[in-house]
């Protein structure tokens, strides 16, 4: 028997039934149904709910735009960042959004390399989420440089001052890591879209659609002489994205870990940041996929309860790694016998930001443990509610790492607290508007399920299906 799943379960012995994989697509859907249904989401008349959701998102994006213009026109001082908390909500939000993006690349690349075929129905939306999250993230360090018109100093180009970038600085590594990550994610996403854009082109009835999808599909014909290069490119892009995604959050963690501030200067940061990113990212994938599938009910045959169940298992697994890292940090602070290190963690738990620390602990370590119970992994309302804890908890984690550490460093004379301004708050809310706007546009104009990959995991896609084997 090949890797394909078996449909006629009745003919099997009980032993065989135990090892047969459950079908990835339910209700014996055909190629035609998958193509028709997924394309019809894009081709149908714009539903009312879409406009209802788009309006607040666009308004919030407008608020974000206003805040950005106000900040550039006035100065970075409109944020609450001030001595000693020079990195505050802006870097918190940057790390938060970048982290969310990681689940998309994990699903599209790492699960591809490990031959996890269930990824096919969720990878498109998850990759889109990656791109939009990175767009939201990139706003913050771009503005944090202060004089935005000098941001080109980040790029390694010769200039009249005879100054080059300090390539030993983790902040410059970050520039390279994040811009590479965004570029490669766009390439990977677009490569995956080409065959599906060809489907939309071939189905198009209006002139505008024919032109737009025709140009975007680049003349794809689905010949095997094309598929063989295509599959090689896709495989290698997955192979390249895998170390890339692990490196990006490691480099982000170097921003902290290579400094000498107590609470930041630890070697555990890279793996702990990567696990946290996957943890928070999967929660965000579920947060957006569950409502999307509830609006388009037949998608439940493609994104099944089995998918949700698996993603919840990833959440509880990575959440436990994060919990282990938190406890290990405390242990190392004690074991190091360094009074500053000990004090940093004491202030995290019992200092002025104790509420953020315990919110983080509860949301990231305790709340997701409920996913050990199958009932909570398979009931969508519960899954959605529980996923909000990691979403919030991962923001708190970054806030705890950044703000509590800076607020209490070596000498009490340098201590201080951070208070967000209205610009801080509205910019953060505004990025959710931007994220929502981009995601709504995506589900309206592009197929949110990777049609050709889902077709390829149907049992009849196996060339030996129904044969003599």
């Amino acid at each position: 028997m090949s890797e394909a799943t078996v449909i006629d379960q009745e003919k099997l012995t009980p032993e065989e039934k135990a090892i047969v994989r459950p079908p990835l697509v339910l209700n014996e859907r055909t190629y035609g149904w998958i193509g028709n249904y997924v394309s019809s989401i894009v081709e149908a008349k714009t539903p009312i709910w879409w406009w209802v959701c788009l309006l607040p998102c666009v308004l919030l994006t407008g608020v974000l735009g206003f805040c950005i213009v106000y900040l550039i026109a006035t100065g970075v001082g409109v944020w609450g960042n001030n001595h000693p908390v020079g990195w505050a909500w802006d870097i918190t939000n940057f790390v938060f959004w970048i982290g969310i993006g990681h689940a998309g690349t994990l699903i599209s690349a790492i699960l591809f390399l490990t031959r996890q075929k269930w990824r096919t129905s969720i990878n498109r939306a998850a990759e889109a989420m990656t791109l939009f999250a990175v767009v939201c993230a990139a706003i913050y360090p771009g503005l944090h440089v202060g004089r935005v018109w000098m941001a080109w100093f980040l790029a390694p180009v010769p200039n009249a001052n005879g100054i080059w970038q300090n390539f030993r600085s983790p902040l410059l590594w970050d520039v390279f890591a994040v811009s590479t990550y965004f570029t490669v994610s766009v390439l990977f996403w677009y490569t995956g879209l080409i065959p599906d854009l060809a489907t939309l082109r071939d189905r198009a009835t209006t002139k505008i659609r024919k032109f737009a999808y025709g140009v975007l599909a680049l003349g794809w014909r689905g010949g095997n002489r094309q598929w063989r290069h295509y599959e090689m490119a896709y495989l290698l892009l997955a192979g390249l994205s895998t170390p890339l995604v692990l490196s990006v959050h490691s480099v982000v963690s170097f921003d902290f870990a290579t400094s000498v501030i107590p609470g930041w200067h630890t070697t555990i940061f890279p793996p702990y940041f990567v696990a946290g990113a996957i943890f928070g990212g999967f929660a965000m994938v579920l947060t957006i996929m569950i409502p999307a599938c509830a609006l388009y009910k037949p998608l439940h045959d493609l994104v099944t309860i089995n998918h949700v169940d698996k993603m919840c298992k990833v959440i509880v697994f990575t959440g436990s790694i994060v919990g282990y890292a938190y406890i290990m940090e405390l242990f190392m602070a004690w074991y190091s016998a360094n009074p500053y290190e000990k004090a940093a963690f004491w202030y995290r738990a019992f200092g002025p930001y104790w509420w953020a620390y315990w919110a983080m602990m509860f949301c990231n370590v305790i709340a997701p443990q409920i996913f050990w119970f199958k009932y909570f992994r398979t009931h969508l309302v519960w899954v959605w509610i529980i996923c909000q804890f990691p979403n919030a908890g991962m923001w708190y984690e970054r806030f705890v790492i950044i703000a509590t550490t800076l607020a209490r460093d070596f000498t009490p004379s340098a201590w201080g607290q951070f208070h967000p301004t209205w610009v801080d708050i509205w910019m953060f809310i505004g990025t959710f508007g931007l994220f929502g706007t981009l995601f709504l546009l995506f589900i309206r104009f592009l197929p949110m399920i990777c049609m050709f990959e889902v077709k390829a995991v149907l049992p009849e896609a196996d060339p030996h299906h129904g044969g003599k084997h």
């Binding site: 055909t30 190629y31 035609g32 193509g35 390694p156 100054i163 080059w164 970038q165 300090n166 390539f167 030993r168 983790p170 590594w173 390279f176 890591a177 590479t180 570029t183 490669v184 390439l187 677009y190 490569t191 065959p195 489907t199 082109r201 071939d202 189905r203 025709g214 680049l218 003349g219 014909r221 689905g222 010949g223 095997n224 002489r225 094309q226 598929w227 063989r228 290069h229 295509y230 599959e231 090689m232 490119a233 290698l236 892009l237 390249l240 170390p243 480099v251 170097f254 050709f452 990959e453 077709k455 390829a456 009849e460 896609a461 196996d462 060339p463 030996h464 299906h465 129904g466 044969g467």
Partner: protein
């Protein structure tokens, strides 16, 4: 075998023939057809499917794609670019001493992230644009698109075409051959 009937023609009957194409219902049929076309000694042919079919390269007698080797070259270029980008300014042109750290070869661990990122970036560009070039994309038209039924290739139908450029090509033989393989709607596809 019954005698061949007149074939349908897709495209302008006045222009040159591109090839003779047939339609199949399942991936398995297309797979076995490809094996037989390969065994019959045809070289200039292609099979079309809504998704990549596992093992089709062997069935068609195609070798492994060269793209992987090309991407290695791309990655190497990226790595060397990063080596130059970091060492030339930081060690030779504008050595900048930060926190008393060395500016010579010993500084290399600090440059690893840049080298890694540029290796990945250049490889990814090579993968995507190399794939486009090897596939002849973007290409906004192709003779196969003259055939109305071919639109189903991105939906749920499977096609194959034997091109006129093939040395063994003869319209009548190919038509009979495709019919014997179980191909339906056998059609002569014309160039533009």
């Amino acid at each position: 075998m019954e005698a061949s009937t007149e074939m349908n023609v897709a495209g302008d009957p006045q222009s040159q023939t591109y090839g003779v194409a047939a339609e199949f219902d399942t991936a398995a049929q297309l797979f076995h057809a490809a094996e037989k076309i390969r065994d019959a000694g045809y070289k200039k042919f292609d099979v079309f499917s809504p998704f990549p079919i596992h093992g089709m390269d062997d069935a068609m007698g195609l070798k492994r794609s060269l793209l992987g080797k090309l991407i290695f070259c791309g990655g190497l270029t990226g790595f060397l670019t990063a080596v130059c980008l970091t060492f030339i300014p930081s060690s030779f042109i504008y050595p900048l001493i930060v926190a008393g750290k060395p500016t010579n070869l010993f500084t290399v661990p600090a440059f690893f992230p840049i080298m890694f990122e540029l290796t990945i970036l250049f490889s990814a560009f090579t993968a995507v644009f190399g794939m486009f070039i090897m596939n002849g994309l973007p290409r906004l038209n192709h003779p196969m698109f003259n055939w109305e039924r071919f639109k189903k290739v991105s939906d749920d139908k499977f096609f194959c075409v034997i091109e006129m450029k093939d040395p063994k090509f003869s319209e009548r033989d190919v038509q009979d051959f495709l019919q014997s393989l179980g191909g339906q709607n056998i059609t002569k596809v014309q160039e533009d």
